[in-house]
Amino acid sequence: MTPEAEFNLGGVVKEQLLELQEFTLLLWRGFRNIFQRPFYFDDTLRQMDVIGVGSLPIVILTGFFTGAVMALQLSATLAAYGQVERTGELVAISLVRELGPVLASLMVAGRNASGMASELGSMVVTEQIDAMRALGTDPIKKLVTPRLVATLIMNFFLAIIADIFGVIGGWIYAVLGIGLDSRQFWSSAFYALDFRDLVQGLTKPVVFGIIVAAVGCYFGLRARGGTEGVGRATTQAVVAASLLIIMSDFVISRVLITFIGQLH
């Protein structure tokens, strides 16, 4: 390796570490503000509306069809072992542990991480963020904290809704497509779920919600260079948030299974 190449590699690593540091700092300041006056309740409620109500239709559709396709695919495999009546169980477990939280959060990331990045990004390039500071407002408190809180809360409920509609989708396919008994599907789905599954299924959307909001705001706030820069920030935010969700999903699963275990 030439000295120059070495130098550049060092530079790149240093840059990445600096970015990570800045990201962490933003996250820390965003959370610290939750407990400091002034509180921007109105802004938080408006964000909850944008994120929660706005994402509801796509999360319902995502959950429903994911559940249906799971029933379709799993029942075929289970039939080979003569255990097709366990379809409900497998659909419920995979939805609650993984697919509900992950897919709902990916949808929220696609919609809201990009939305936040473009909104804050255009505020940066039109100097509205500077204007806010000039007028005595901390933009982190006014813009980032409400988005963090709102996404964290709404993503939690959206994941539950994705789970519910997923099981409904699976049930409809199981009854109409495979001819399973309705009551059997529901009881197998219901009894399969253990509190440890719920812990996993409810921890993940909270963490993913934080990722979506923090990444969206981070890329938005560091947008530079006019509308082009805002577009770039928007794309980067969706890609980064989606990747972080999928990678952290593995880490959270691993850690939770280590500490609280898993039934099946």
């Binding site: 002034p38 039109t126 100097e127 500077d130 204007a131 806010m132 500071r133 000039a134 007028l135 005595g136």
Partner: protein, 277 residues
């Protein structure tokens, strides 16, 4: 006006008596590229300092440094006797109450009405009643002669109206210092004159100290040769020494020229001359 000696007072006494704005050997670089390389100047109470310079010479940065939105790599910025460049953000919020800024493209909050834009700071302070806020908003809007637009959204306004709302918003806390970033940029000549008239009125009627970035020589000329006639409510021609206006030309990160209108127009320096053409 202050006596000419007060500009050389020590920093400790730079409160009421010293210059309102003071830059001391300010350096600032981005990604290793030096933009400001030792900028020093002062502005006294009631004075308007016109900042001239090529694109990307750092004019906007000087305004942001004065507000504490940017911090210098080295050197110091003093505003109203406070060391802006060293204050923590929490202390800066209090100081910024006394400094109004009009951003280049107005930077109005898109999602808020004209009323809410102008009321923004007053609401953030959580101290005033609704009635007082409404009164103050109307007073600021009537100063810029735009009271009828109070319920409009920024998207419905023309460029000149936006600029006037931005001035009203900056005035809501009745600041002693105003910072204008190309306040006439992108406006037609007639609208530009209206805006400049407001700025001169603030200078002469309210004794506001200001930094003003402009690309238009007409603006600089108007500032240097006209004063606000309080009796007749219009501009009146006056000798440059009565206009409390001085000029600062930035070049390659340094102050290339700093002086009044007479000195600027009679300068023998080639760069100043090409700049004045």
């Amino acid at each position: 006006m202050l006596s000419s000696t007060s500009g050389h007072d020590s920093l400790e006494s730079a409160g009421a008596a010293g210059p309102v704005l003071r830059f001391e050997n300010v350096h600032l670089a981005f990604d290793g590229l030096a933009v400001l390389r030792g900028v020093s100047f002062i502005a006294r109470r009631g004075e308007t300092k016109v900042l001239l310079g090529e694109a990307a010479s750092g004019k906007t940065l000087l305004l942001k440094l004065a507000l504490g939105l940017q911090r210098p790599d080295s050197g110091a910025v003093w505003v109203l006797g406070q060391p802006v460049s060293d204050l923590p953000e929490s202390r800066l919020f209090a100081l910024r109450r006394h400094i109004g800024m009009v951003f280049q493209e107005s930077a109005l909050f898109d999602s808020l009405s004209v009323r809410e834009n102008v009321a923004y700071r007053l609401r953030e302070e959580h101290e005033l009643t609704e009635d007082t806020i409404e009164q103050r908003v109307r007073r600021a809007l009537s100063f810029v002669e735009l009271e009828e637009a109070i319920d409009k959204m920024p998207g419905e306004l023309s460029g000149g109206m936006k600029r006037r709302v931005a001035i009203a918003r900056a005035l809501s806390s009745e600041p002693e210092v105003m910072l204008y970033d190309s306040p006439t940029g992108g406006l037609d000549p007639i609208t530009s004159t209206t805006i400049m008239e407001l700025i001169i009125k603030l200078r002469d009627e309210n004794n506001v100290t200001s930094l003003l970035v402009t690309h238009r020589l007409q603006d600089a000329y108007l500032l240097a040769t006209h004063v606000w006639d309080t009796q007749n409510r219009r501009l009146r021609a006056a000798a440059p020494e009565r206009s409390h206006t001085s000029f600062l030309l930035l070049r390659e990160g340094k102050v290339w020229f700093d002086g009044d209108g007479h000195q600027l127009m009679n300068s023998g320096d080639d760069y100043v001359k090409t700049f004045m053409e």
